[in-house]
């Protein structure tokens, strides 16, 4: 009877549906998979920071190689990894994670080992970038820029200005609802840990809790957590101070010489970061990725981006060609004594990281 068959069919369908939905335990959620169709040879997709890409760069690359570049933007390493792992990442052939995220991505087997014979000019890198702690012998990553985390503030509105992390709390009344912090767990928590005299990478639960409690005090004064959206508001006078990366801060200062802005590297030390170029295992177009890396490694290109986008190059050959004022810019290339006080953000044990995440969510939820 048709009705019986239908009933059976219905049962089978439900069973299949249930079987798919409820395999019980043991299935793995959302592994990143390479796209089956290989990417177009003339297309290259990047996943990068807002300030690392501009039309001139992609156009020059296009005229040199004939490859079209499209770029998507992220505003923190965590967002980048979340987006990449959610399945949106299969299109990218080059990503720009920071040091500690490189280590984490290597650990998660998300990165392709680099074929150094296909990369020109690795020897041009400054000695300290030849063999990084987060990626020994640069097997998976090529450093592209480095810098510090600090704050940029309006000297007309705040004088004397802050010199150290602790001053944010001291000047809280003046800065009330006129400051922003980065939308980045590790940077914000790290800075607070530093202000308490701990390491930027503290793993002790008590220290982490102390930092959280200290941040809770500061929070009413914080307008918002943002990595990029402070620029025009700082210029317009809506904000007095923003926690920012040196590359972004220096660029804003250079592009707006009239605005009375100053970038400060906190005296007690801050995070020293380097951003890198990596090729994910899922890269649809690794050949173009190598082309891009080689392009960015050209000293002339590195000089161009450093003097236009203001991110400090780790490329010695390029550094030597920089105009003197830029080379001597202490915000961009801080002296050794300043660097000594800084720390690199390092990957943390998942258990500790979960603690960071929990406090961060608590902080931003309260």
């Amino acid at each position: 009877m048709p009705s019986l068959t239908r009933r059976q069919l219905l049962h089978t369908a439900t069973a299949i549906a249930a079987g798919m939905v409820l395999p019980g335990c043991g299935w793995t959620l959302g592994e990143v998979r390479p796209a089956l169709s290989k990417g177009n040879k003339d297309e290259l997709s990047l996943f990068t920071w807002e300030s690392y890409i501009d039309p001139l760069l992609t156009e020059t690359f296009h005229t040199q190689t004939g490859i079209n570049v499209t770029a998507d933007i992220y505003d923190s390493n965590e967002t980048m990894l979340a987006t990449f792992q959610s399945g949106k990442g299969a299109i990218y052939s080059v990503i720009y994670p920071s040091d500690y995220k490189v280590a984490e991505m290597i650990d998660k087997k998300l990165l392709k080992p680099l074929d150094h014979s296909r990369i020109n000019g690795m020897e041009n890198l400054m000695p300290e970038f030849q063999n990084s702690v987060y990626d020994p012998a640069n097997r998976h990553s090529v450093p592209i820029s480095w810098g510090t985390t600090g704050f940029i503030y309006n000297t007309a509105a705040l004088n004397p200005g802050p010199e150290d992390w602790e001053d944010l709390w001291r000047l809280q009344a003046q800065l009330n609802r006129k400051m922003t912090l980065l939308a980045d767990v590790r940077e914000v928590m790290g800075a607070t840990l530093k202000s308490l005299g701990h390491s930027y990478n503290a793993t002790d639960p008590t220290e982490i809790r102390q930092a959280y409690q200290k941040l809770v005090q500061l929070k009413p004064a914080v307008t918002t957590f943002t990595t990029d959206a402070w620029r025009d508001r700082l210029l317009a006078g809506d904000l007095i101070l923003s926690m920012a990366y040196s590359a972004d801060a220096v660029r804003l200062i250079q592009e707006n010489p009239d605005a009375k802005l100053r970038y400060v590297i906190p005296a007690s030390g801050t995070s020293l970061w380097s951003d890198t170029m990596v090729i994910p295992v899922t890269a649809p177009n690794p050949d173009a990725a190598y082309e891009w890396i080689n392009f960015m490694m050209q000293p002339s290109v590195a000089v161009g981006v450093t003097s236009r986008l203001f991110f400090a190059t780790p490329n010695q050959a390029a550094f030597d060609q920089l105009p003197a004022p830029l080379r001597n810019n202490g915000s961009l290339f801080p002296p050794e004594s300043v660097i000594q006080a800084c720390e690199r953000i390092i990957p943390l044990d998942p258990k500790v990281m979960e603690l960071y995440d929990q406090y961060w969510t608590k902080l931003t939820s309260g």
Binding site: G30, D72, G87, G89, I91
Partner: protein, 275 residues
């Protein structure tokens, strides 16, 4: 206005509120338009007239690509939803079957479940089942945005069409069948023309909602296939230049224009029907 003596709320007072609220609705749009001609990146004050933001926006390949992506998504999603949704509405009106209640309830669920929940669920489904089961053949892309948009477009088309079906003369199709038309003929030549205005207005609504959707698109779009709302959102997050203002003025004028045409067509067809 024959009953001015019995006004429960007096005229001038209410009119003032009404005018104020019209101002509230249009103020932000006027502000956007104003600053799209202002020759300054940050200033609140007027710094002189300029077209440069319009030039900048028209030369911005990212925005134009995103706009094209949005139009592709809306076009295909609404196209599929128009066919599938209309069939569903007619089917639901015509047949009874066990589980119809559940089917019907599910069909209109996208109208009430918050977008964020739909977006999250679709992403999880894609990441946990569709991508692995297809062995990577399915990837987050414009295609996945389209299939996610079909879900809510379908509901909107169906609800508008089914309202129209309820107003129709149920004997019309039967008459056609009695006169020897095949069911397909009856459907295509009798029912469909009657439903056309409803299908068109349902599609229009779905089209606008699809163009405007940020959440579902941002959870289901792959890298490099941003839709316009995603691109705008990313710019608001990273700091905007007034070329976004220029874009909004162009968008407002063109949607307003499209809308006026659609309204005019509807008005004309209604007049034809009733005259």
């Amino acid at each position: 206005m024959n009953s001015t003596s019995n006004r429960p709320l007096s005229w001038p007072w209410l009119s003032l509120i009404a005018i104020g609220l019209f101002g509230f609705m249009y103020f932000p749009i006027l502000v956007l338009a104003f600053y799209s001609f202002n020759d300054s990146k940050y200033s609140t004050g007027w710094k002189g007239f300029t077209w440069k933001w319009y030039v900048a926006f028209l030369n911005d390949s990212r925005i134009l690509t995103a706009l094209a992506n949005s139009l592709i998504v809306a076009f295909f999603a609404v196209g599929i939803a128009a066919v599938v949704g209309t069939l569903m509405a007619v089917g639901l009106a015509r047949y009874r079957f066990p589980g119809k209640q559940v089917y019907q309830g599910t069909a209109y669920l996208p109208l009430i479940i918050p977008d964020i929940a739909i977006a999250v669920a679709t992403l999880v489904f894609l990441a946990a089942i569709a991508i692995p089961v297809s062995g990577g053949l399915i990837q987050l892309s414009l295609g996945t945005v389209i299939s996610a948009h079909v879900v809510f477009c379908l509901s909107y088309v169906a609800i508008v069409v089914s309202t129209r079906i309820n107003d129709l003369n149920p004997h019309l199709e039967e008459a056609a069948l009695d006169l020897g038309a095949t069911p397909t003929q009856a459907f295509m030549q009798v029912l469909l023309p009657e439903l056309m205005p409803a299908i068109v207005s349902g599609c229009l609504l779905a089209f606008v909602l699809s163009l405007d959707d940020f959440l579902i698109a941002s959870f289901t779009a792959g890298g490099g296939s941003s839709t316009l709302p995603m691109e705008i959102f990313s710019r608001i997050r990273t700091g905007v230049k007034p070329d976004i203002n220029a874009l909004s003025v162009v968008l407002i004028l063109s949607t307003g224009f499209l809308f006026a045409i659609a309204e005019y067509l509807r008005y004309r067809s209604e007049r034809k029907r009733f005259s």
